[in-house]
Structures are given as structure tokens and as C-alpha cells.
């Protein structure tokens, strides 16, 4: 595996669409379910805005994991989801080339009431990050 990530770099970035995933995260809050505090949610109109280098820069800056929470096929911008999926494929290629564990970037669809799916995603990513950190220490 590529460069191990450091313990202090355990922050997870969530890019959440304002029409689906972001209110979904609010719904988790309303239910007072807890999830790791290293999860940071940024509200975006459409994640198709971010170029490939944005993701790579985030990893370089020390972000441990990124979850792109889109609206999936229900995306209000026709064609955006497919453009995004294609772009992330290219990011994966570069990550492989740079020996960054590709599991650190995930594309998923979360809707306004997907509480359980949201928790699954952030917990899984957190577990992965913790595993990679302990591997890094080892």
C-alpha cells in the first residue's frame, strides 16, 4: 500500500448535495444518532463542480477520506451524476498510480431520509481510516 496516513490526519470530508444528502445528514442529527466527530460535511450544489485535482489535493493536505454523497440518479442536474462518476473513475486511476488506497474516496447516493445509509457510510469510512492509521503506525 502507498503512503500510510498519519494519526493526526484522520479527518473525513463529506461533500453533500444540498438537495439530498445534506438534509439527510440533518435528519441524522434530528434523530440524535451519533457518528464520529472527525466527519466534516460541506454543502455543495453539485459535486460535479470539483476537478480531479481537488480530491488529490485534499489527500495531500491530510484529509484521510472523502465521501461524495450525491443525489444519485435523482440528481436535479441532468447528466451531472454520470459526469461525476466518470470523473471519479479518473481520480481512482491517479490514486492507484500514486499508491493511495482507493477506498479512501467513495461515491454514494444519500437521500433526505437515508439515516441508516448515512451512518453506514461514515462509520465504514471511519473504520477504514482507523485501520489505515494503525497500519501506518505498525
Amino acid at each position: 500500500m502507498g503512503p500510510a496516513i498519519q494519526a493526526k490526519e484522520n479527518k473525513i470530508l463529506v461533500l453533500a448535495t444540498e438537495s439530498c444528502a445534506y438534509p439527510g445528514a440533518d435528519s441524522v442529527g434530528q434523530a440524535h444518532s451519533s457518528y464520529p466527530a472527525n466527519v466534516y460535511i460541506l454543502r455543495v450544489k453539485a459535486p460535479v463542480l470539483f476537478p480531479e485535482r481537488f480530491y488529490l489535493d485534499c489527500f495531500a493536505k491530510g484529509i484521510a477520506g472523502i465521501i461524495v454523497m450525491s443525489c444519485g440518479e435523482e440528481c436535479p442536474y441532468d447528466g451531472a451524476y454520470h459526469a461525476l462518476a466518470r470523473r471519479l473513475d479518473r481520480v481512482y486511476q491517479t490514486m492507484k498510480a500514486q499508491e493511495i488506497d482507493i477506498r479512501r474516496l467513495r461515491l454514494t447516493a444519500i437521500c433526505t431520509v437515508c439515516n441508516r445509509a448515512f451512518l453506514n457510510e461514515v462509520n465504514q469510512m471511519n473504520e477504514l481510516v482507523q485501520t489505515l492509521i494503525s497500519a501506518g503506525h505498525a
Binding site: A31, T112, V113
Partner: protein
Amino acid sequence: MDDNLNRNVDAIVIGGGIAGLQAALDLADQGFSVAVIEKDASVGGKMIRLSKVFPTLDCASCITTPKMAAAAHHERITLYTYCDLKSLQRVDGSVRADVIQRPRYVDAQKCIGCRKCEFTCPVMVADQEQGGFSPTKAIAIPFSNAIPQIAVLDPEHCMLCGRCERVCPTQAVDYFQKPRPFTVTARTAVITTGFEMTGMTDKPQYGRGTIPNLIDALQMERLLAPHGPYNRVLRPSDGKAPDSIAYIQCAGSRDISMGLSYCSRVCCMYAIKQAMLLSGSLPLADITIYYMDIRAFGKGYEQFFQNAQAMGINFVRAKVAAVEAGPDGSVRLHYEAQDGEGVTTSDHDLAVLSLGLIPAWHPDGICTLATGTDRFIEVLRPKLAPVQTSMAGVFTAGAASGPKDIVDTITEAGNAAMAAGRYLAAQPGSTPRPAETRADIEATVHIDG
């Protein structure tokens, strides 16, 4: 908001479900001021309580919440929730609605929706918003995506222990709140009072509500919703994941013996939709839909039905004649298999009654609106003016004038807003107020309780 709830607006919309919200938005976007009178504590109607919607399988909340929020934030829309319409009359060319806001026992202006009261309340009550399957508290926010986010105290179950009052950070709990009568005057009204489901006990042959694992379709919506009571589909009696599920179509429609001769129009599609969602969450389960005619008439509906068949959902042409409790919590169905088997019984782990739709509201004693023999609001010219009621300047849309699916409801709401707009435009001295800037429109949240 001032203490006085009275308003003078261009249009009153009775009912804040999807039809009412769409009509209100389309009226307000034309420049008219609108008051929405809703009987529940939240707007959103039946649609916000659904899991996913056919034929696109969009999440119902994701489609409804934007419209709820848009109406709540619209400069020209005032939402009145938890209100009963006492009378609706034409007075000197205008329409007057006398309304009583029921007490929430929580000050709508002070409540910040934090749910501290709900977490503190010691009284558990069955949460009807979750099909009665899970508990809520005697003081609670109605449901997670309710608008407005204001707690409601249930006086039936509250034991006045005072804990909610003590814990509330804004002193919003008010055990002495009184019903608040007020009057909204307008020049036109749109009736969007929607539907209710027929009762589980309406057809005596279906067990009179005593069969443990026989549920209604709205309960199944909650079981299927991502934020439902169990987070997955389990049968209520023993928490078993059902291996075999039956849908009983026309359980409250097309049945003169129940006093309902009409087709409820949405049950075929919602059953197929639920069956598809079930086969997603319980891939090994057998799902059977017992039907007389599949009525997949809308855009994309027939293909949806064909997909369901391709997915392996069983369609049996039979009207289920009787239902009884079977062994081990199962539900036993009696029907005539028409493919040569003849009279047949089949046992299923869980069965769903595809109940029919009946009007949620009747104008008796409130206004002079004419209704049809089906008790839905009569439209005088169903062809050229399908939203025109028997009262001048009063229009209707959605399931108030007969069962309708969401797509047809939203389109009809648009037409009701058009008809009401035309009526307003034809009134002397009527010009819609020019919009200020978009920022204004977005910036004001009009929620009067």
C-alpha cells in the same frame, strides 16, 4: 408574527398536502398572496409520509420537502397549521374562512424545534406517524421532516408532570394554551383537502382489524421508509422477516357491498411499487399481488408493471373474498384461482390490504360546496373545467375531487392555481403585487404556527 392571526389575502388554500402546496406556490409565483390552512401539525399531507413514489421510485421526502420548504419560505405564503376550518362563506364578493387553531400547548413563536421536551417526556404513546409500530412521546415534533418544526403536546396522554416545561430552553410549553379562532378573508379559495384511506374494519370478511399480520398500505409505507419504525421490513406480531407477502387489491374500492363503487386509482400502482421495494429489501421473499384488473394507466406505469412481473412478483387474478388468521401468525386468504384451480386458500407471513381512498373532508356544515354520490367534491365541468366547484370563485385540486395519483394531483393543482388566478384577474381592481427582489422572496419565513 403578531398576536392577531387574521389575514386578508388574495387566495385561501384549504389543505397543505402536495396539492395545496403546489397550488399555493403557483398562485404566489403569479404574485398573489396566499394563506394555507392545514389541519395537521405539519404541512406535506399524505405524500411526506410515503416511502418512495411510483413510477420513478424517487424518495417521497426528497420530492416533498423542497415544496414544503419553498412554501414555508415564500414571501407571499402564510402557512397555518393545526387548524380546523369552521366555515367558508362568500361574503360580498369575497371568501371568508373562519378557522380555529387547536392548541399545541407549545408556543409556536418560541419553540425552536430542539426536541428537548420530547426526550425528557416520560410518557410513551404509539406513534401513528410510524403506523403505530413504534413509540413516540406525549410531547413531540410530529415527525422528522415536519414543517414547521414545532412540538405538539398530546393532552390525551400527557400526565402534566411538568418535565417538558422545565427543560424547554425557550419556555415554549404552555399547558393553558387555548384554541385560537381567527378569520382569513380572500377573493378566491382552492380546496385541496385530500383523502383518507378506508378502514381496516370496513369489510367484515377481512377480519375486522383482528388479524395480527394484516396491515394497511400506509403502514407498509412506514415499514419501507428509510426512517421507518424498524429500519427494515418485519412483521408486527413477532418481528419475523416475512418470507411471503400478499397484497389484497380493491380492499376498499370497486365494491358496492362496502358502499364504494369507484376505483381508487392509485392502489394498483402503490402495491406494485411496494412489492418492488420489498423485493429489494427481502430478495428471497415471495410477493403476490391479488388483483382484478391492473390499472397502470399513467405515464411509465405500464412499463413499471411489466418490470415488476419481470422481477418475479406474482400477479394472481382474483378478488380475495375473505381473510383470516392462519397458523403461526400467518394470514390466510380465500379466493378463486381462475386458471383452473378454483377455490383456493393461501397462507402468507404478512398481508397488506390495498385500502381505497375516501375524501378526508366533507363540506357539510362548513360551506355549500356540492359533493358527488362518491362524497368527493363535485366539479361541474369535469372536461373543460376540472377544477371548478359549485361555488363561484372556489376551485379544487387533487384527491379532494376524487382519488388521484401524485403526478395528476400536482398538475391539477397547477390548473387550479391558473383558474384561481384567472378569477382574481377578472375581479375589478385586482393586480398582483409586483415582486420585490428574489432575496425578499427567499428571506421571509411565514409560518404562523
